[in-house]
C-alpha cells in the first residue's frame, strides 16, 4: 500500500490532540492539590513535554520501534531519528515513518506525566526530573516495544489498542511504587484531599477527554472505520463512567460532585483505551459504567486500609482502571469490529484472548515495579534526598522548588 494523505492528515491531527492531554493533565492534577503546590504540580507535567520529547527524538523511537533484541527492546539504528523518513512508510504502511514517530512521541510524554499524580506535594523537583528520564528509558521504551513494536507481548496475541498496558497500567503501578518509597505527606490521614480549584479539575478533565479522541481513534493508525469505532467507544465509555460515578455519589453521599464527575469521565477514558478499536459500541457502555464502581471501591475502601499515600490516585484511577480495561478487552473484543482480533473475547465463548490479556497485565506490572525501583535508586544516587524537607513541605513546593507562587494574596497587597 502506498502513503495515504487522509491517514497522514488524521495522524498528524491526532498527534496534536494527544499533546494537549499533558497540559490538560497538569490542570486536572493542579486543581486537586493545595494552592501552595499548584505551580509545582503543573511543572511536574510540563517539564515532561520537554524532556520526553528530546529523549524520544534521540533514542526513544529507535529503542521502541527499530528492530528487535530478544523480544524486549529495539536497537539504536534510528538514533536521532536518523533514517526515519518523512515520506516513506515505517511500521504503518500508509503513513510515513516520521509521522508515526510523532504520534508515538505524544504517548511517551503523557505516560510519565501520569505518574506524578501519586507523588505531589512532597517530592523534590530535581529528583523527579531524573526519575522521569530514567523511567522513560527502562520502563516505557521496552513496554512500547513489547506491546506495539513487535516484541513478545505482541507475539502472544495480547491486545492493547491505545495503551492500557503501556500507558495506564505501567504509569499507575509505577506511581504506586514511587508513592510507597516516598512515604506519606505530613498531615496525611487528617484530610486526603485539598482541591484548591475545582473548576481547574474539570478544565483538565475536559482537555483530557478532547485529546483522548486522538489518543484512541488515532491509534487506529488510519482514518478508517476502526478509528470511527474507537471514537464512538471512547466517548460512550467516558459518558457512562461520568454518569455511574455521579450515581454512586448520589447513593453514597446524597450529592454528586464536580470532582467526582471529572474523575468518572477520566477513568471511563482509561478503561476504554485498550479495547477502543476492538470492542463493539454496546460493550463500551458496560466498560464505562463498571469502571466507576470498581475504582470508587478501591479508592474509598481499599486504599485507606492499605494506608499508602497515592495523593491523586494515579494508581487508583490509571492502574485499576487500566487493569479493568485490559480484562474487559479480553471479555468483549470481537473480530467483526477489527480483523486484528484473532481470538474473540470470553463473552463470546473463547478463552484464549483473556489469558493473553492477563499475561500482558502481569508482565506490565512486573516491569513497572522493577523499573521504578531502579529509577528511584538512580535518582537517589544523584540527589540523595528525593523528598523535600518537612519545613518545605509546610511552606509549599511552589516556593521551595520554584520560587514562584501561583496566586497573589487576595487582599491585593502584592
Amino acid at each position: 500500500m502506498k502513503l495515504d494523505s487522509g491517514n497522514i492528515a488524521w495522524m498528524l491531527t491526532s498527534s496534536a490532540l494527544v499533546l494537549l492531554m499533558t497540559p490538560g493533565l497538569a490542570f486536572f492534577y493542579a486543581g486537586l492539590v493545595k494552592r501552595k503546590n499548584a505551580v509545582n504540580t503543573i511543572m511536574s507535567s510540563v517539564f515532561v513535554m520537554g524532556l520526553a520529547s528530546i529523549l524520544w527524538v534521540l533514542i526513544g523511537y529507535s529503542l521502541s520501534f527499530s528492530g528487535d533484541i530478544g523480544g524486549i527492546i529495539g536497537n539504536l539504528d534510528w538514533f536521532g531519528l536518523n533514517g526515519v523518513a518523512p515520506d516513506a512508510p515505517g511500521p504503518i504502511s500508509t503513513v510515513p515513518n516520521l509521522c508515526f514517530s510523532i504520534f508515538q512521541m505524544m504517548f511517551a510524554i503523557i505516560t510519565p506525566a501520569l505518574i506524578t499524580g501519586a507523588i505531589v506535594e512532597r517530592m523534590r523537583f530535581t529528583s523527579l526530573f531524573i526519575f522521569i528520564g530514567v523511567w522513560s528509558i527502562i520502563v516505557y521504551y521496552p513496554l512500547a516495544h513489547m506491546v506495539w513494536g513487535g516484541g513478545f507481548l505482541f507475539d502472544i496475541g495480547a491486545l492493547d489498542f491505545a495503551g492500557g498496558d503501556v500507558v495506564h497500567i505501567s504509569s499507575g503501578v509505577s506511581a504506586l511504587v514511587l508513592a510507597l518509597v516516598l512515604g506519606k505527606r505530613k498531615h496525611y490521614g487528617k484530610a486526603a484531599y485539598h482541591p484548591h480549584n475545582v473548576p481547574f479539575v474539570l478544565l483538565g478533565a475536559a482537555l483530557l477527554w478532547f485529546g483522548w479522541f486522538g489518543f484512541n481513534a488515532g491509534s487506529a493508525g488510519a482514518a478508517d472505520g476502526i478509528a470511527v469505532n474507537a471514537f464512538m467507544t471512547t466517548n460512550t465509555a467516558a459518558a457512562a463512567a461520568l454518569l455511574s460515578w455521579m450515581l454512586i455519589e448520589k447513593i453514597h453521599n446524597g450529592k454528586p460532585t464536580l470532582v467526582g464527575a471529572s474523575t468518572g469521565l477520566v477513568i471511563g477514558l482509561v478503561a476504554i483505551t485498550p479495547g477502543a478499536g476492538f470492542v463493539p459500541i454496546w460493550a463500551s457502555i458496560i466498560i464505562g459504567a463498571l469502571v466507576s464502581p470498581i475504582c470508587y471501591f478501591f479508592i474509598t475502601y481499599v486504599k485507606p486500609k492499605l494506608g499508602y499515600d497515592d495523593a491523586l490516585d494515579a494508581f487508583g484511577c490509571h492502574g485499576i482502571g487500566g487493569i479493568w480495561g485490559g480484562i474487559a478487552t479480553g471479555l468483549f473484543a470481537h473480530s467483526s469490529v477489527n480483523a486484528a482480533v484473532t481470538n474473540n473475547g470470553l463473552f463470546y465463548g473463547e478463552g484464549k484472548l483473556i489469558v493473553s490479556q492477563l499475561i500482558a497485565i502481569g508482565v506490565t506490572i512486573v516491569i513497572a515495579v522493577v523499573g521504578t525501583l531502579i529509577a528511584v535508586g538512580i535518582a537517589k544516587l544523584f540527589t540523595k534526598n528525593i523528598r523535600v524537607s518537612s519545613r518545605d513541605e509546610d511552606t509549599g513546593l511552589d516556593v521551595s522548588e520554584h520560587g514562584e507562587i501561583a496566586y497573589p494574596a487576595f487582599n491585593g497587597m502584592d
Partner: protein, 112 residues
C-alpha cells in the same frame, strides 16, 4: 482574661493549631495578612529579572484565654512557631475587660 495576638509564618499554622487543641483553647480566629518586620522582604525571579517583594504573607492568630492559661498557650505558640530564622513573628498580649456569649448572654470567664 487575656487576648493573645500572634503574627506567625503561614506554614506554621497547622502545628500551632494542633498544639493549642491539646491545651483546650476554646476557639481561635485567624486572618491572612501581609506585613514585614525585621525580615523585610525577599526576591522573586520572573523571566530572569529580580523582583523585590516587600510585604510577606503572614497569618495573624487571635485567641482569648483565661488568665491561668496564658503562660502555657504563649509557650506553646513560641515553641511551634519558631524556626530560629528572622521572620518567625511576634506575639502581643492585651487585657480583656469583658466577654459575652451572644446566644446565652453569659459574661466573663463563662463566655469563653
Amino acid at each position: 482574661m487575656k487576648k493573645i495576638e500572634a503574627f506567625i509564618r503561614p506554614e506554621k499554622l497547622d502545628d500551632i493549631k494542633d498544639a493549642l487543641a491539646v491545651l483546650h483553647v476554646n476557639g481561635l480566629s485567624i486572618s491572612q495578612i501581609m506585613g514585614f518586620g525585621s525580615q523585610k522582604g525577599w526576591k522573586e525571579y520572573i523571566r530572569g529579572s529580580e523582583v523585590e517583594v516587600n510585604f510577606l504573607a503572614k497569618i495573624k492568630i487571635e485567641i482569648v484565654v483565661l488568665d491561668e492559661q496564658l503562660d502555657a498557650v504563649v509557650t506553646s505558640i513560641c515553641e511551634n512557631a519558631r524556626t530560629g530564622e528572622v521572620g518567625d513573628g511576634k506575639i502581643f498580649i492585651y487585657n480583656i475587660e469583658d466577654a459575652i456569649r451572644i446566644r446565652t448572654n453569659e459574661r466573663g470567664n463563662d463566655a469563653l
